[in-house]
């Protein structure tokens, strides 16, 4: 089955008001059902690129086409039905007096019927394990819970594309796992997931495609294995390789030439190598 491009950028350039060039000549095709990780150092243009996917930023030059709609001429509120965007800081969006109100707000704006609001919001809250707290005041939640609530408010919209801006930054190990499991589930359901992140272990483990950004340009665009094999690219962006890959690198001089992406893969490959 050949997937169709759901987001296309053509020669996309963007400068912030005041003339700071943040993106230059980015041409990408994001296919429906991909799990994409956008990586790069701070200020490399990752978030700026992501904000073009739902029209929050409009290209200075070039075009961004989302599901056939040019973002220049389409309202963000219209694009928000296609691309859900989860921000890094939940406190920039939470205003409701209950978890339920916050999570269902986007659906109410879309004038969905009561029954679907009930259904979709319940599903979203269950997905982030907040379904027991629906009447709680959002301020009474922990930071991790608020992050999940913000995620749920976007999940409830059931958009075919999800953009997550550094979803695991500042989260402890367990919340990180939960977020990633959730993302993997959503991807398995057939949604397109685009994740902006610094977390290289997660990239190695989950992404199907890695886009490396630097100085507003796409430096690399490949499956994770190839991305991590081209060490010089990652080095130049100042990103650290995931521990599994660093171990494999250390074993090179002993004739181990693989680039494993997960711990299980490393163990398996090591054992076969030893047995051979």
């Amino acid at each position: 089955m050949k997937s169709e491009a759901i987001i296309t950028t053509r020669d996309l350039s963007y400068s912030y008001p005041g003339g700071v060039a943040a993106l230059s000549g980015v041409s990408l095709e994001i296919l429906s059902g991909e799990f994409i990780a956008i990586i790069g150092s701070n200020g490399s243009g990752k978030t700026t690129l992501a904000k073009h996917f739902n029209g929050l930023l409009k290209p200075s030059q070039g075009h961004v086409i989302v599901d056939g709609l040019d973002t220049r001429t389409t309202r963000v509120s219209e694009l928000s039905r296609i691309v859900g965007f989860v921000f890094q800081n939940p406190d920039h969006q939470i205003f409701g007096y209950s978890v339920w109100e916050e999570a269902s707000f986007g659906l109410k704006l879309q004038r969905v019927d009561e029954e679907s609001i009930e259904q979709q919001t319940t599903d979203a809250l269950r997905a982030v394990a907040l379904d027991g707290l629906r009447d709680r005041h959002p301020r009474a939640l922990s930071r991790g819970q608020r992050q999940r609530l913000a995620t749920a408010s976007i999940l409830a919209l059931e958009t075919p594309v999800l953009v997550l801006d550094e979803p695991t930054t500042g989260q402890d190990f367990i919340s990180r796992r939960q977020i990633m499991e959730l993302t993997v589930d959503l991807h398995a359901e057939g949604r397109t997931v685009i994740m902006v992140t610094h977390d290289m272990s997660l990239v190695a483990e989950y992404a199907s495609r890695v886009i490396v950004m630097q100085d507003g340009k796409v430096l690399g665009d490949s499956p994770p294995k190839e991305a991590f094999e081209r060490e010089e690219i990652l080095m130049s962006t100042g990103l650290e390789l995931p521990p599994v890959i660093r171990i494999a690198r250390g074993l090179r001089e002993y004739g181990f030439s693989d680039t494993p992406l997960t711990q299980a893969e490393l163990v398996e490959n090591l054992i076969t190598a030893i047995r051979r």
Binding site: V20, N54, S77, G84, H92, Q93, F95, L157
Partner: protein, 294 residues
């Protein structure tokens, strides 16, 4: 880049080197001259002079970008004054021959019924000059904060003494911190705007009830996080012994130079001349200025 960016920026310009007090005098001089005149041409001259000072300070134009909002204030003044101006009643010594000139009617002639609501040229002109006053003051005000290092401003304020009284440091701190937080809150506002738009909130449109509802989604997160960061700030202050009963010293010392004397004298002369021009000779004052009895 926050929408409202009036944070100090480093530059070695004549204006930057002036003593904070001189710059405060400049603000006062702008207030005085803007209040003295109400003839649009004279106010335009005042605005030009302010732009000249901003250029002298090498302030990038983008720092004034948010000023486009003033267009609405000017328009509002022009229309409201245009419609209601004549109801001021007392305009002092106006020539008996004087007649109001009607520009146009808000209610078009072809539409049925209704009073036609004339917009009076004199009123619109007066409203325009009121709008220009707001523009002048709004343009001049950021120059002080943009060109003065916050700690110099604090230093200057703490030097003010009247007898043995001086401004309590807490008050000075609140004042200077408020300036420091304007860009932060503005940035927060922009981020909230993005977050809400991303989940389908549409800002704009014509339904006022809906707009108010939509605005709560902006103001609640911004206010909450401002309060929370204020709380964090108090903690940070206390860990640094804020309020310890010692004499404060400053790394930066601000000096009163010869240039400050010259500028001060110049500003006072300009302000006094403008006042005399307007009050004694009626220059730069519209002949139909409404008389207010206080």
């Amino acid at each position: 880049m926050p929408t409202i960016d009036i944070q100090y920026f480093k530059e070695d310009s004549f204006v930057h080197r002036l003593h904070p007090f001189t710059k405060v005098l400049f603000e006062i001089a702008v207030l005085v001259t803007a209040a003295a005149f109400n003839e649009p041409l004279f106010l335009a001259a005042v605005i030009l002079a302010i732009i000249g000072v901003a250029a002298l300070a090498r302030i990038p134009v983008r720092k004034f970008r948010y000023m486009w909002m003033l267009v609405y204030i000017v328009l509002f003044m022009v229309i409201t004054q245009g419609v209601w101006f004549t109801s001021f009643g007392d305009f002092g010594d106006i020539d008996v021959e004087f007649k109001w000139r009607t520009l146009f009617h808000l209610w078009p002639a072809w539409a049925p019924g209704g009073p036609r609501i004339p917009v009076i040229f004199e009123g619109a002109n007066y409203g325009f000059s009121l709008g220009l006053r707001v523009v002048a003051i709004s343009l001049a005000f950021p120059i002080l904060v943009l060109t003065t290092h916050p700690s110099d401003l604090t230093r200057f304020l703490s030097q003010i003494r009247i007898g043995s009284w001086r401004i309590p440091y807490n008050v000075i701190f609140v004042f200077t911190t408020a300036f420091r937080y304007i860009p932060t809150v503005s940035r927060e506002f922009d981020q909230t705007l993005d977050a809400q738009r991303a989940r389908g909130v549409h800002f704009g449109g014509f339904n006022p009830v809906r707009q108010i509802k939509v605005l709560t989604t902006l103001f609640v997160p911004v206010l909450t996080s401002s309060l929370l960061s204020a709380h964090d700030l108090t903690l940070a202050l206390e860990t640094r012994a804020f309020g310890a009963p010692t004499e404060r010293t400053f790394i930066h010392e601000v000096h009163w130079r010869k240039a400050d004397w010259l500028v001060t004298v110049f500003l006072i002369i300009v302000a006094v001349v403008c006042l005399i021009m307007a009050n004694s000779y009626g220059l730069g004052v519209l002949p139909y200025t409404p008389q207010r009895n206080i």
